[in-house]
């Protein structure tokens, strides 16, 4: 059969091209532009090659931020994924409590990020915050503004509070999609609760957990607002994660060139790690198939 040829059909793709160009390509190209140029002000730029990239790649400050970022994402994932699954397992399966639980779980997800930061910033203060005062009353001197460990604790706890429900909701959806027959068969086979989890629930949740891990990794790796509000990256640079450091560099010091190179590398790292995650997990999936 002859297909009608009409090259004008390409115009149908035009709106998308324009949209993507303005929303992604052009802004990204501006950054690319900055990353290879230097300026001494007066809007005069000159070519700097890959100099900024070399500088960023060898900068101890960026290395530090990168290390902290990895540690933060690892801690957050290690807490949120198991905790989210555990919460999902404890949630009721039917009845009115399902809706109550779902709404309660969704609440932290609906709060704007800087509000979350403010909530915890106040909560942890030892002069007016509930948590800070309570700890103080128990004889624990808690000060996230001066003690790096305390700063980490509050940032991690805040992120767990904010995002565990996302994992729990995803895991819950995965659990709910398991047909009742699996549980009945397990009962007939006299499988213990642990075996039901290990051989039925966990394998069936694999898909949603993969999504949860990816989402939580990307989000936690790009975290900015909450720690910025609570600790401002401090004390010192103890909680300066990549985004915070990047903003300091770009807007605080107005080092546009290095900051542009930094953000491109940052973007590539996220892309790379997400790709590796995805590939590894789908390969495991296929290997077991």
């Amino acid at each position: 059969m002859d297909k009608p040829v009409n090259q004008k059909a390409w115009f149908l793709v035009l709106p998308v091209l324009v949209l993507v160009a303005f929303s992604a390509v052009i802004p990204l190209m501006t950054v690319v532009n900055y990353s290879v140029q230097d300026t001494f002000g007066n809007n005069v730029f000159f070519w700097h090659g890959i100099g900024w990239f070399q500088e960023v790649l060898t900068s101890p400050r960026v290395h530090g931020a990168f290390g902290r970022q990895l540690l933060f994402s690892a801690i957050v994932l290690a807490i949120q994924i198991p905790l989210g699954v555990a919460i999902a397992l404890c949630m009721p399966r039917r009845g009115i409590w399902v809706s109550v639980c779902l709404v309660l779980m969704a609440l932290p997800l609906l709060i704007p990020w800087n509000v979350v930061g403010t909530i915890w910033q106040i909560l942890g203060r030892s002069d007016i915050g509930l948590l800070g005062r309570a700890l103080d009353a128990m004889g624990i001197s808690f000060n996230y503004a001066r003690n790096p460990l305390h700063a980490w604790i509050i940032v991690v706890v805040m992120d767990v509070w904010h995002w565990t429900s996302l994992v729990a909701l995803l895991a819950y959806a995965g659990l709910r999609s398991i047909p009742q027959a699996y549980y009945q068969a397990a009962e007939i086979d006299q499988a213990s609760r642990w075996k039901v989890f290990r051989y039925i629930e966990l394998p069936k949740m694999r898909g949603v957990l993969l999504i949860a891990v990816l989402l939580r990794f990307m989000d936690s790796f790009m975290i900015y607002t909450e720690p910025f509000v609570v600790t401002g990256g401090g004390p010192g640079s103890a909680t300066s994660f990549l985004s915070i450091d990047l903003v300091k560099m770009a807007l605080g010091q107005f080092d546009l060139g290095p900051a542009a190179a930094f953000s491109l590398l940052y973007f590539l790292v996220i892309l790379l790690v997400s790709w590796v995650f995805y590939t590894v997990m789908t390969t495991i999936d296929r290997a077991e198939g």
């Binding site: 047909p179 027959a181 699996y182 009945q184 068969a185 009962e187 007939i188 086979d189 006299q190 499988a191 213990s192 075996k195 051989y199 039925i200 394998p203 069936k204 077991e288 198939g289």
Partner: protein
């Protein structure tokens, strides 16, 4: 293996059932012999899965008792009843190999590994999976998965009964036949008590020695496939079994005659006492014959040739009936008559079959 007795069993999904309508399963007394194959046949929502789940212990009945070999197991959990169940959708443990799947129930019961290994190989040979023991279960076809489910049940030697809940629903048509034949063979060889729930009459009739037909939460008839075909105890059994189902024609019953609406008379093979209620006669299309001489006048609407025979859709005094005619038989154009074999005409009052007083003289 065990004899299963259902004693006054009834179940409602409501906490405080009021009338009979609230019961998904109406009061039921049944005896299932040790080592026989039974089918529970009925349309969707008739309570057959409820009954099965009560037997397996996944559901606790509102009333009545279940006895295995005379022991009351009503309050016992599934695990203690020692039954096996194959579900509608194949249940396998995805991450395990076929071997691990089959070994799972034994390992959970703490049997020693040597026994487990031997038993798994035995069962795999029985269900024809010995060549794929080391493959992951999740990549297999639906019929292989269903065999694994079955194998997980049979791997326990002391299993009381094997229950099947529409096990062939997701199996490809060409595999259905094979699996069913295999089940039948396993039953003959190993003699497990088997209870097979289905809505497919062919499956039920070919699989089971005894078929219990369920309708609206009630077992309306239990019998051999032949009983169900020749003397349906309820008009539902008549409709549901057979293709097409039994013709039910409203009629007044007087002794050995049935008088249809409009006056025509049908001779019956038996003599009946006074029959009250909504009365009708039931006659299977197989026992009706188109003639040119005797019988009642019908108007033929349509003839369907289904290969082995022809199905004649006809109009009998405003009542639609089906008649089966032999393949190649000439169907009279319009002035046709239909003759019902008197010995196969059953009488129904309010949908239940009426037992005749005695054989009619002409036929006896």
């Amino acid at each position: 293996m065990a004899r299963i007795t259902l004693d006054g069993l009834a179940h409602s999904y409501l906490p405080h059932p009021q009338g009979e309508g609230d019961f998904a399963l109406k009061e039921l007394n049944l005896d299932w012999e040790d080592g026989a194959a039974y089918a529970l046949l009925g349309a969707s929502g008739c309570g057959k899965s409820t009954l099965l789940n009560i037997i397996s212990g996944l559901l606790r009945p509102s009333r009545g008792r279940i006895l295995f070999d005379g022991t009351d197991v009503t309050r016992r959990p599934t695990a203690e009843r020692n039954i096996a169940q194959v579900f509608q959708f194949p249940v396998v443990y995805d991450t395990m190999t076929v071997r691990q799947n089959l070994a799972f129930p034994l390992r959970n019961r703490g049997r020693d590994e040597a026994y487990v290994a031997r038993r798994v190989v035995e069962i795999a040979a029985m269900i024809g999976l010995e060549h794929m023991l080391d493959r992951k279960a999740r990549g297999l076809t639906a019929d292989a998965k269903q065999k694994i489910s079955l194998g997980r049940g049979m791997v326990r030697q002391d299993v009381n009964a094997l229950l099947f809940d529409e096990p062939l629903t997701v199996i490809d048509p060409h595999m259905k036949w094979e699996l069913r034949t295999q089940l039948k063979k396993l039953h003959r060889e190993f003699g497990h008590t088997m209870i097979y729930v289905t809505h497919d009459q062919t499956e039920a009739l070919t699989f089971a020695d005894q078929v219990a037909v369920m309708h609206d939460g009630r077992v309306v008839q239990t019998g051999t496939p032949q009983d169900l075909f020749e003397t349906p105890a309820h008009t539902f059994v008549g409709y549901f079994i057979g293709s097409p189902g039994m013709n039910v024609v409203p009629a007044r019953i007087e002794g050995d005659r049935a008088i249809l609406e409009g006056g025509p008379v049908v001779r019956l093979g038996d003599v009946y006492g006074p029959v009250t209620g909504r009365t009708a006669i039931g006659i299977r299309p197989e026992f009706a014959r188109l003639t040119e001489g005797e019988g009642l006048p019908v108007r033929i609407r349509r003839v369907e040739d289904v290969g082995r025979h022809q199905i004649v859709r006809a109009d009998l005094f405003g009542q639609e009936i089906n008649v089966i005619a032999a393949e190649g038989e000439r169907i009279p154009a319009d002035a046709a008559r239909v003759w019902f074999d008197p010995s196969h005409v059953n009488v129904y009052a309010d949908d239940w079959r009426v037992t005749p007083l005695r054989r009619a003289q002409e036929v006896a």
